[in-house]
Symmetry: C2
Subunit: 144 residues, 2 copies
């Protein structure tokens, strides 16, 4: 049972087979040994490693960041501080993105509310959403 083909590995790790081949191609996974018929064969260690990789990706680490994280695992003499640094700088990025999204959400809520209050489904070009989107450049509704 410990010998898996690519489809089984994919199922166990929530990956697709093409993605596994892609990870192999970019060197994130080792080049898997092949069966007689040239099909890739995997073992339990591959399940572990790929699960780790997928988890990092779910946490929105980029492939290059994952490469470093995997390197930390491979290189057992490396410092914990490297992992902490990677995680916390990633956290910074996530927080910045969240701030942006919050501002965005507020604007969109405002647009929709204004539309409900003022346009009431009336036709066209004077919709406050279109007006709002054109604003802040001081140009009002845009005439094409």
């Amino acid at each position: 049972m410990s010998h898996l083909r690519i489809g089984e590995l994919a199922d166990r790790t929530g990956t697709s087979a093409p993605t596994i081949r892609y990870y192999e191609e970019i060197g994130l996974l080792r080049a898997a040994p092949r069966q007689s018929g040239n099909q890739r064969v995997y073992g339990p260690l591959d399940v572990n490693r790929l699960t780790f990789i997928r988890r990092c990706r779910e946490f929105d680490f980029s492939i290059e960041q994952v490469r470093k994280l995997v390197g930390l695992l491979d290189n057992r003499s490396s410092s914990c501080l490297d992992a902490r640094e990677l995680a916390s700088s990633h956290l910074e990025g996530v927080r910045a993105k969240m701030r942006e999204l919050r501002a965005l959400e507020r604007s969109l809520v405002g647009f929709v509310a204004d539309c409900d209050a003022q346009c009431a489904g009336g036709p066209g070009p004077d919709c406050v959403i279109l007006g709002d989107l054109g604003k802040r450049c001081g140009c009002g509704p845009v005439v094409p």
Copy 2:
């Protein structure tokens, strides 16, 4: 002064010149008329339209959504409801993304806090972050 070249249009709208050419190529901006020397010439209406487009993009609307929004502007008989619909379905997407990011942030904060509490900068492979990232598959720290 109402005749601008691409660089000036770029400056006034916070866009890059290649991006403006790209928008022209995909039909989001009309093909600009050319000067004698084949350089593009723009007017105030182009500033308005591009500002509108950039604003939509800042609000994370996809190019295709922007294309619709611009179409709403162009087609003055269209209904306000279309714009409202576009904005509110976009809002849904933004909220979903925010929920993901919030969960992600919590995890990362947890990782870093655990590391500070338990690893204290000690060396290596037993860093709780690497452990945490490998978890939930029940495999613990991953052995490559």
